[in-house]
Amino acid sequence: MKTPDAKRRILRSGKTLWNLADALKAGSYQAFEKALGKDTQEILEEIFLSGLRGRGGAGFPTGTKTKAVHTSNTHGCSYVVCNADEGEPGTFKDRILMEEDPHLLLEGLLIASLAVRASHAYIYIRGEYGRSIERLQTAIDEARKASWLGEGIRGSSFSLDIEIMRGAGSYLCGEELTLLESLEGKRGYPRIKPPFPAEKGLWGKPTLVNNVETLANLPYIMMHGAAAYRSLGTEASPGTKLVCISGDVKNPGVYEVEMGTPLKDIIHGPGGGSREGDEICFVLLGGAAGTFASVSQLGIPLCYDALRKEGLSLGSGAIMVFGKNASLKDILQNILGFFKHESCGKCVPCRTGTYHLMQSWIGGCTNNQGERKKLLPQLVAEARNIAQTCLCPLGQSPVMPLESAMKNIIELMD
């Protein structure tokens, strides 16, 4: 981890933080204890003022969402759900957090639950994350024994239980409403929106759904206050972001970087730049549901707004770097195949549209490069159609890589 300690909000130093004793030494649960002494309004306000935005991909202001759940909770029943499905290709930051520092997530869940007065929280976790599940379960057990979880936590009137639920390998189940269906034991089809989870979520009750990383920010905010939190990052994107650098770089891995750091500083800094004898040709930001950036765009600072202005996206924080040997044609085929495979089939445009996109591209791949360049705009138009009427955000995704590839790097088409 190359980030200096002073610039870390999430990744804490410590070798075996998954042990409660070590976690406590590193300061775990102090922020929660502080929060226990506050009233809910104060906690909500602190989160709101921090400007924290959701790290699951959409970047929605966490404070606004938390307040909405709190407001809908008029019958004394709400839930907090941690989205640990981490299905976006190229994304593996939540896994590192959960494996290395599970108590941080538990503390984040405690604070969030306190804020929305939930007495039950769930962690919906990607089924393949065996070690994360194991360490989280141990952490939960240890925390419960030490009365950081359970009935009347540390003598207060607040109770919380956390349960881990394993996903079964569907990308779509990471989408919050589908996740809730799955959590209720139903098939992973998306729900009709509205209502949003904040109004009617799990079992029809107000539910706060947050990404692992989002929740992991809460202890810092509680401990040091919104102002301190805002000392890093930009006005509209405060704090830090975990990025997952992969591909043709020297040092692939998870790094915590300050929001607003130019992309190339990340790729060349912690990422170590391209490998010997290679060069960076283009970058895919945010995974399959993300966007392609050209080398000339790498001066853009990593934050929601600056990227959006360029038609790019931060997404989950995946940064896939491609060098000389990468084939854009194959990458696109891979992405289209992914969406075809992951489309749940519930709504017509996505079910059939993702299939047609894939088929057209495969057809195009037998043609020459020039034809492919001409085909791309047609696919973009098709994908736009899908995005306009499909039921859930999955169907709105294919247009993003297609359109950005067309706009930013079409000349790299092989």
């Binding site: 009709i192 075809k340 017509v348 445009p349 079910r351 299939y355 047609h356 009427t389 039921l391």
Partner: protein, 909 residues
């Protein structure tokens, strides 16, 4: 009803009902918004994405079917972009769909394709991928076929099965582009699908199509569809009969009308085959030299008239009797009882109600005043607690059961009391399984706990029960010895479950009771129902909306036949014959001399058989009943009928009973009749003529009038069935305000005394229909059964019905479809007993006692108690009523079909 709010559509202001589905409201208001996955009877899915509209203030495109009407909404339902998006999605659908015209069903997708000019493949821009996807099909169900190539994955069938019928047989297999529908684990014919066909009715394309008559139906050129009432059970489902060339080719549920709102069960949808069956009687038959020979109507009528006349002259008028019919219309039955009372001159008119709910009716009339269900069918869904006793409601009243299952899905607490497992147990909170014949004890036990815990409704007891608290104390005294331990000893039901059931019922806000044959068909039938009513009364679970007691009726017009006077004690409208004033009123209406109307109660069904056996009844007129299957102790019944001087059977088939007749008169089936019937929830429903009767079959009422005329009696002249009903309305005050004309566009439940009365969905809101206006408690004690097991006959045999057949199955076994589901008599036995007797499922056994002997196939089933057996009574080759007793409940004269001691032995062939 929701209030109307104003919304702006395409720049104009409209008033739409608030909170209703936006797509539905738009369509109701005349906007042609396309959409294939939405159906008003299921929850919105949002799958087809064709109903796209633009709503001001909402980002992007919205789907009308997933929104509700809100005050001030502003929307655009059509513009170039929207039409383009619809077109794109339609193209998507068509690209995964095989174009193959199937005119046997109305294809909404094909219709839309035409509308958008996409019916011609050359107008489409996407390649068709159907062949590449190679979707499976499934032809294994007896009633339908599924073709994945035509399926648009709209989920309507899945939701029809799950949300409307509560069955959850269907689901989407695979995912994404390869999705398709499966039943159960993948083979329709092996799944739990019971063939109700709801999925067929809701499928918008030709993906799920019904098998029968597929090649004969052209929905675009159909002759006619006639709305009528289902001829099977007492739910009274409204359906449409499709007719081609005087032949019924399809039945579909009528949506938007109660009691079924489009739902049907497998019998209602596929059981019409009997109407046009070649076995139908087409001309009168007269027994000559011991054989039934075809004859002309004039000869037959003259013979009937003269023989009835001779018997009357020789043995006196009391030697004649008649069986009316729970299958005939109110109009037919009204004329029948009028005939018995005016031409035979006695009150010997009864019918199979005596065999099903007579005890229920007797108890209800004495305790609360009316022998009919106090609620509407929809209350089965809305009640917080449902107490179902002796009623296999899922099989015998499948559509009432759909309401129950929907209630259960919303958290309704269901208590099932049944000695045998019934499918409803799956939905129940508690299942009490008492030993046969111990219902009174069980109910007293429940009352004991309710009183002990103070779950009684004292205000109700004081204000609405005769002698208020004093009567209550009498009951309390009587049940004091039925503590849970003692009740467990008698009934075998664990005390813990008794406490639990008492708690659920005792603390329910609104409870509905459904009571069936299991309660009524016992020697203690009336007492059983008394104790049930006692429990209901002390908890105040009647006399307001959403609470009460309901005996779902077995046949389509059991309710109506008694309502219109086919009862030995009552004139139409439950007017006692014993009262001179009543006789005077009826005599005036019937234009006859009051002295000619007999004031003595007539004989009931089983009494008629006894009297025939003893030679006191000499002539019998049976209209549309089959006692040779449905009566208890059939060998005795046969002897009795053989002793008769003269037996006339008027029916549509040569039934087991008709085969014994001297004259058989061919009548008409429901689809050939006009008239009315009354459902279990007192709804008066129209039967309408869809086809002509075969051969020389005649309307029942016309046959009766012809016999009367031939016997020189004038019992009235009627231009049509509506005219008969008008007279009936004058005779029966409960239907005083009803007419055929009103029924064209109103749904009416009796009592409906005047033409401006809206009908009565719930009985007893202000008063009970007893002389005092208050209900009465009848504390009753448990009595040991006379019929006991012995070493010679160590098993207790219970009887009942199954979903696929109906009553004596004269009608249902004419249907290939129903036979495909079940066509063999079976007997259920507990596996432990089977083990002791070395029996395996599938083996044939003989079941016998002193009264008779039959054979059937064994099925081991943990749903019956050890020492008990269960058999359906539908199968003529194994007439279980050979074994039942004709010992009667002293109050209602009902026979105890539910309990007979028998023995079994393996048949070695």
């Amino acid at each position: 009803m929701s209030r109307n709010v104003s919304v702006e559509i395409n720049g104009k202001v409209f008033s739409l009902p608030e909170k209703t589905n936006l797509l539905k409201s738009l369509r109701d208001a005349g906007f042609d918004v396309p959409g294939l996955c939405y159906h008003p009877r299921i929850s919105p899915t949002g799958a087809c994405r064709l109903c796209c509209i633009r709503i001001e203030g909402l980002r992007g495109i919205s789907m009308a079917c997933t929104l509700e009407v809100k005050e001030g909404m502003k929307m655009i339902t059509t513009d170039e972009e929207l039409e383009n998006l619809r077109r794109v999605n339609l193209e998507y659908l068509l690209s995964e769909h095989k174009d193959e015209e199937d005119r046997s069903t109305f294809d909404e997708l094909a219709e839309l394709a035409r509308q958008y000019g996409l019916d011609k493949p050359e107008n489409r821009s996407l390649p068709n991928i159907c062949d590449a996807l190679d979707f499976p099909s499934d032809h294994s169900s007896p009633v339908l076929t599924y073709d994945g190539n035509k399926c648009i994955k709209c989920f309507r069938c899945v939701k029809a099965c799950a949300e409307i019928q509560g069955k959850e047989v269907l689901s989407m297999a695979s995912r994404g582009i390869t999705s398709y529908i499966v039943a159960g684990f993948g083979v329709w014919g092996d799944s739990e699908c019971d063939g109700c066909g709801e999925c067929i009715q809701l499928c918008p394309t030709a993906a799920i199509v019904e098998k029968p008559h597929r090649s004969e139906i052209d929905v675009y050129n159909s002759e006619k569809a006639v709305r009528t009432t289902c001829p099977y059970c007492g739910v009274g489902c409204q359906l449409e009969l499709w007719v081609n060339n005087n032949k019924i080719v399809r039945a579909s549920g009528t949506e938007g009308l109660m009691p079924n709102d489009g739902r049907l069960c497998v019998k209602g949808r596929f059981g019409y085959e009997y109407v046009g069956h070649p076995d139908r009687l087409t001309q009168p038959l007269i027994r000559k030299n011991g054989k039934l020979e075809p004859a002309g109507w004039d000869e037959a009528i003259a013979l009937v008239a003269s023989r009835f006349g001779i018997i009357r002259d020789t043995y006196g008028k009391d030697a004649l009797a008649g069986y009316a019919s729970a299958k005939a219309t109110n109009e037919d039955n009204y004329i029948f009882q009028k005939f018995i009372r005016m031409v035979f001159g006695n009150n010997n008119v009864d019918y199979c109600t005596r065999l099903c709910h007579a005890s229920t009716v007797t108890a209800m009339i004495r305790s609360i005043g009316d022998g009919a269900g106090s609620n509407s069918i929809a209350d089965f869904e809305s009640a917080d607690c449902l107490f179902v006793t002796g009623n296999n409601i899922i099989e015998t009243h499948p559509i009432t059961a759909t309401y129950v299952k929907r209630g259960a899905a919303k958290g309704q607490a269901i208590i099932v009391v049944d000695p045998r497992y019934t499918p409803l147990v799956r939905y129940a909170k508690v299942w009490l399984q008492p030993k046969l014949g111990t219902d009174v004890a069980l109910l007293n036990g429940l009352i004991h706990v309710i009183i002990r815990e103070g779950w009684i409704d004292q205000t109700f007891i004081e204000n609405r029960i005769e002698d208020g608290m004093q009567a209550f104390l009498g009951l309390k005294e009587l049940v004091s010895r039925y503590d849970p331990a003692e009740t467990e000893r008698i009934t075998g039901v664990p005390a813990r479950l008794i406490e639990e059931a008492a708690r659920i019922f005792g603390s329910a806000k609104n409870a509905i009771i459904a009571t069936g044959m299991g309660m009524s068909q016992q020697v203690t039938g009336t007492h059983n129902v008394f104790s049930l009513i006692n429990m209901m009364l002390i908890t105040g679970q009647v006399g307001r909306e959403g609470a009460g007691i309901n005996p779902p009726r077995g046949q389509n017009n059991v309710q109506g036949a008694t309502d219109v006077g086919c009862s030995p004690m009552m004139y139409p409208g439950y007017i006692p014959i014993s009262d001179k004033e009543n006789r005077r009123r009826v005599a005036a209406l019937w234009n006859t001399d009051v002295e000619k109307l007999d004031g003595r109660p007539g004989l009931t069904t089983v009494e008629i058989v006894h009297a025939a056996h003893e030679g006191n009844i000499r002539g019998l007129y049976i209209m549309g009943e089959n006692p040779m299957m449905s009566d208890p102790n059939l060998n005795h019944t046969r002897e009795a009928f053989e002793k008769l001087d003269f037996l006339v059977v008027q029916d549509i088939f040569l039934t087991e009973t008709a085969q014994l007749a001297d004259v058989v008169l061919p009548a008409t089936a429901f689809a050939e009749k006009n008239g009315t019937t009354v459902s279990s929830d007192r709804r008066i429903l129209r039967t309408r003529k869809a086809v002509l009767p075969p051969g020389e079959g005649r309307q029942d009422w016309q046959i009766i009038l012809a016999i009367a005329a031939a016997m020189k009696s004038d019992i009235g002249h009627y231009s049509d069935e509506a005219a008969i009903f008008d007279e009936l309305a004058k005779a029966a005050p409960i239907m005083g305000g009803v007419s055929h004309a009103r029924l064209e566009n109103e749904e009416l439940q009796w009592p409906c005394p005047t033409p401006d009365h809206p009908g009565t969905p719930t009985l007893y809101l202000d008063r009970f229909n007893t002389p005092s206006g208050k209900a009465r408690l009848f504390p009753v004690d448990h009595a040991e059964q006379n019929e006991k097991t012995s070493t010679e006959f160590p098993f207790l045999l219970n009887t009942g019905r199954i979903l696929y057949h109906y009553h004596t199955s004269t009608m249902s076994r004419k249907s290939e479809v129903l036979n495909a589901f079940a066509n063999e008599a079976f007997v259920l036995i507990h596996p432990a007993d089977a083990f002791k007797r070395s029996l395996l499922s599938g083996q044939k056994i003989r079941i016998y006692n002193d009264r008779g002997s039959i054979e059937a196939i064994v099925k081991t089933d943990e749903g019956v108690l050890e020492g008990e057996l269960f058999m359906p009574f539908h199968f003529t080759e194994s007439r279980v009523n050979m074994l039942t007793r004709d010992e009667l409940d002293p109050f209602s004269k009902i026979a105890p079909f539910k309990l007979s001691a028998v023995n079994i032995e393996k048949v070695t062939s």
